[in-house]
Structures are given as C-alpha cells and as structure tokens.
C-alpha cells in the first residue's frame, strides 16, 4: 500500500518541482557537491552557499589536468580549502597539478607519511606555494561561513602502512542536509569513529574506498543511515571495486546508489532541505520507500544521462629495463586478470611474436636490436584486452 501511494504521489511531486523550480532557490543559496569522474580514484569539488570552494582529493597522477579543467569550468578562481584525505596515489596524485594551477588558501591532510614520489610531489607543491598544512583529525573545523564542515576522522593514529585508516573524514552540513566524505577509511577507522560518540548521521555517504569490502561496515551504515551513496570508481578497474558485498549491504539498507563508473560525474545540489541529483540512482532495484524512521528528503532528478557501456578489462604492461643493452634479456610484465597473451615486438627489421601468461614475467632475449630504435610491444590478451609498452635499446 505504501508503495502504491508513493508511486501515485511521485508524478505530483515532480510536477510541483517543475511548476515552482525557483522558489526555494531564490530563498536560500544552494550548496553544490560534484563527485568528479576521475576513473579509479577520488576527487570531489564543493561550492558552499557563501561561495567558498573546497577540493577533496585530486585523482591519480594522470588526472590532475582533468580536475583542473573541470573546476575551471565551474568558474573557480581560487580554492579556499584543499583536503588530501590520505597519501595514496589515486587520491593525491593530481593535487600537485591543482596547486600549480590555482591559488589555494588552506591545505588539510592527516599526519601520516608515505615514501612515494607522488606524496613528495604533493608536499613540494605545497612548499613551493609558500603554504603550510593543517592536520586533519577529529574535531577540526574548516571554519567556513554558512555551513558546518568538521572532520570526524581520523580519531587516532594508525600504523604508517595503514594509510587508508588515516583518511581525513569530513562531515559537511547545510540546513537539514549533510554529507559524509570518507576517503578510503576502512572498518577499523569506521569502528573508531563510531566509538568516539560523534554524530555521523548523513543524508549522502561517499562510500569508503571505492566500494571495497573492507569499508562500509554494517555498523557504519547503522551510524550514518544515509539515504543516498556515491561510489567514486573506475570503469573496468582491476581491483573488483565496488564489491558485491558493499552493494548488497547498501541495498539491504535501502540506500540509493550513484556510481561515477556508470554515470560519470555526480552532481548534487541542496538548498538545505531538498537534494537534487543530476542523474537517477544507478541501481533500479532499490525500493524507493524509506525504510528507516528518519525522514528522508525527497530525491528529485534531472533527465537521465545515457549510461556508459562497461569498459573492457584493464591490462597493464611494463618492461623492467626501458634502455637495455644489445643481446641482453629483458622481462615483460603483463598484469591483469589471469589468462594468456600474445606480445608482438615491433623490431626495426621484423616483428616477433611471443606468448606469455598474465601476471608472470616473460623473459625475452632482445638480440641485436638497433640502438636508439624504439621497439613497440603490442599485447593482445586472450580475453580481448589490449595494451602496449616499449623499450629503446642503447
């Protein structure tokens, strides 16, 4: 019966929102949250009602330019707050490029080190801008006008190689609506946030760690009680994100799921009362009726964008010595889902085909390959995936 009523009322609600679209907009300035499609990784751009620009993470190393282009398109001239949730490359990789392109006022990061060049590049970019870093941890407020933006995590220190649990977790509230940005926080960090007694309740949850099964625990979902969730994840990623476990957990909690791999950039606007999404939820089999006693905001959607086709399985390849000597042996690494492949070496004089097993190094004696001539290697996997790499003998 309940289902019937909401199905019956929905057209009228939609009609009302079309008939009076500007009413609430004119009364209260909106807050915008953009979950930018950066493939496998995170990058979230927020514009507060008072006009402050916040950037949480900047995608992988090769996504910095895309993030810069995206936020420039949103007419951003300076960034009031940059947050590096934790030092993993798929979160901070692009931030050095952003720092080089924009005036940034404040940088927040958890106090955990990483030895990667990506992390060094981030630190150096901060230094070159004459900036310092404020420690992101439980209780620290961004001190922005018109919204409440407070870190709810990390609540404590973790082992230095547990970078995910160090994730800076931000809770952003505007009016009656709130968002939780979790970085890659895993079950341990989730349990610590719950134990700290903070109010974690949020309407929209950025699903931790791209939907990996080590995050988004039952207990955490009970504490956050989100109506909607956004998964920032790459098409055809090799890590199996998002996992069926997490999708099922979200489904059991009747959470509407939005996915950057299927729907591209997800944009949410709120006037502090209602939430407006640029797309419909990715999963259609989630019941639209609220399951929990908390009142949920009506979700209104703009026309649906075409859903992109699933990407082929990702394959990556590299040779251990990009500048080998003549007659030496190189190793070709083709990594991805198990299977076999054919590798065509385009030597100057002829093409030679080798057969290999994915995830096992292939030793190749390169013979009298011409010095200075770049040998392209085209790799064709038995599952249809393709990739290429190269080496240049010296």
């Amino acid at each position: 019966m309940k289902k019937f009523i909401s199905a019956f009322l929905l057209p009228f609600v939609l009609l009302l929102s079309i008939a009076f679209p500007a009413t609430s907009k004119a009364a209260t300035p909106p807050l915008y949250v953009h979950y930018i499609d950066v493939g496998q990784g995170d990058s979230i751009y927020i514009k507060t009602p008072a006009g402050a620009d916040i950037l949480i993470d900047g995608g992988n190393n090769d996504k910095g330019d895309d993030v810069v282009a995206y936020i420039k398109k949103q007419h951003v001239d300076d960034i009031e707050v940059m947050i590096a949730t934790h030092p993993d490359a798929d979160h901070i990789g692009g931030l050095d490029t952003v720092l080089k392109s924009f005036k940034v006022e404040q940088v927040y990061a958890p106090r955990v080190s990483h030895t990667s060049q990506t992390y060094v590049d981030f630190l150096r970019a901060v230094k070159n801008k004459g900036l310092t870093i404020k420690t992101a941890q439980k209780g620290v407020s961004l001190g922005l006008k018109g919204v409440s933006a407070v870190f709810v995590g990390p609540v404590k220190s973790y082992s230095v190689d547990d970078t995910n649990d160090w994730s800076a977790v931000l809770k952003l509230s505007y009016g009656k609506r709130s968002f939780l940005f979790t970085g890659d926080a895993e079950t341990k960090a989730e349990a610590d946030m719950i134990a700290s007694g903070q109010n974690l309740r949020a309407d929209v949850l950025k699903v931790g760690h791209h939907g990996a099964r080590t995050s988004t625990s039952e207990a955490f979902l009970n504490a956050v009680r989100p109506a909607s969730a956004v998964i920032s994840v790459g098409k055809g990623n090799t890590y199996g994100h998002p996992t069926a476990e997490v999708l099922n957990r979200l489904k059991a909690h009747k959470v509407s799921v939005f996915r950057t791999d299927q729907q591209g950039t997800i944009i949410i606007r709120t006037d502090g009362t209602n939430l407006y999404f640029n797309v419909k939820p990715a999963t259609t089999n989630v019941s639209p009726t609220p399951a929990k006693p908390t009142p949920k905001p009506p979700v209104k959607t703009a026309p649906k964008l075409p859903v992109k086709k699933p990407a082929p399985i990702r394959l990556s390849a590299i040779v251990d010595n990009p500048h080998p000597k003549k007659n030496s042996t190189i190793h070709l690494y083709v990594n991805g889902p198990n299977g076999t492949y054919k590798a065509v070496f385009h030597y100057k004089s002829k093409n030679t085909t080798y057969t290999g097993t994915i995830n096992k190094p292939l030793a190749v004696k390169i013979g009298r390959a011409s010095a200075g001539y770049t040998v392209r290697i085209d790799i064709y996997a038995s599952n249809g995936a393709k990739t290429s790499t190269s080496f240049t003998p010296r």
Partner: protein
C-alpha cells in the same frame, strides 16, 4: 626495475615506477613487504630495500615537520 609500493588492493600490489602506478600480483612480493617499501623487481624476484626505504621516509618526515603546522 625499482619501484615504491603505493598500496595494496586485495590481491594486487600497486607499485609506483617512475612516478606512474602499475599493478602487480601481490604474490610476487615477499610476505613482509609493506606499503611504502622501496623494491627492486627483477624477473620474478622482488627485493625490499629496507635501508633505502627508511632513509627516504626520514627525508620525507623532515619535509613534513617543516610543512605541518602542528
């Protein structure tokens, strides 16, 4: 080929090589290999460079001490 373990994603080790990340099967790596370790990948053997890892981490922590406000 030298790299730094950026992170583990389930059965996959994500290794940063010349500033780019590349996926490797985790079982290539010795059991004790951790996020942040500097490694040498040679054929199907992987060696962790403990001293170099520690030296790098110290240098980076010095830079962090300079940049973090507290």
């Amino acid at each position: 080929m030298k790299g730094i373990i950026d992170r583990f994603e389930g059965d996959i080790a994500v290794v940063e090589i010349d500033g780019k990340t590349m996926d490797f099967p985790k079982n290539f790596f010795p059991k004790e290999a951790k996020t942040g370790d500097v490694v040498v990948i040679d054929g199907d053997s992987v060696k962790v460079l403990k001293e170099e890892t520690e030296k790098r981490r110290k240098e980076i922590e010095t830079l962090m001490n300079e940049l973090f406000e507290d």
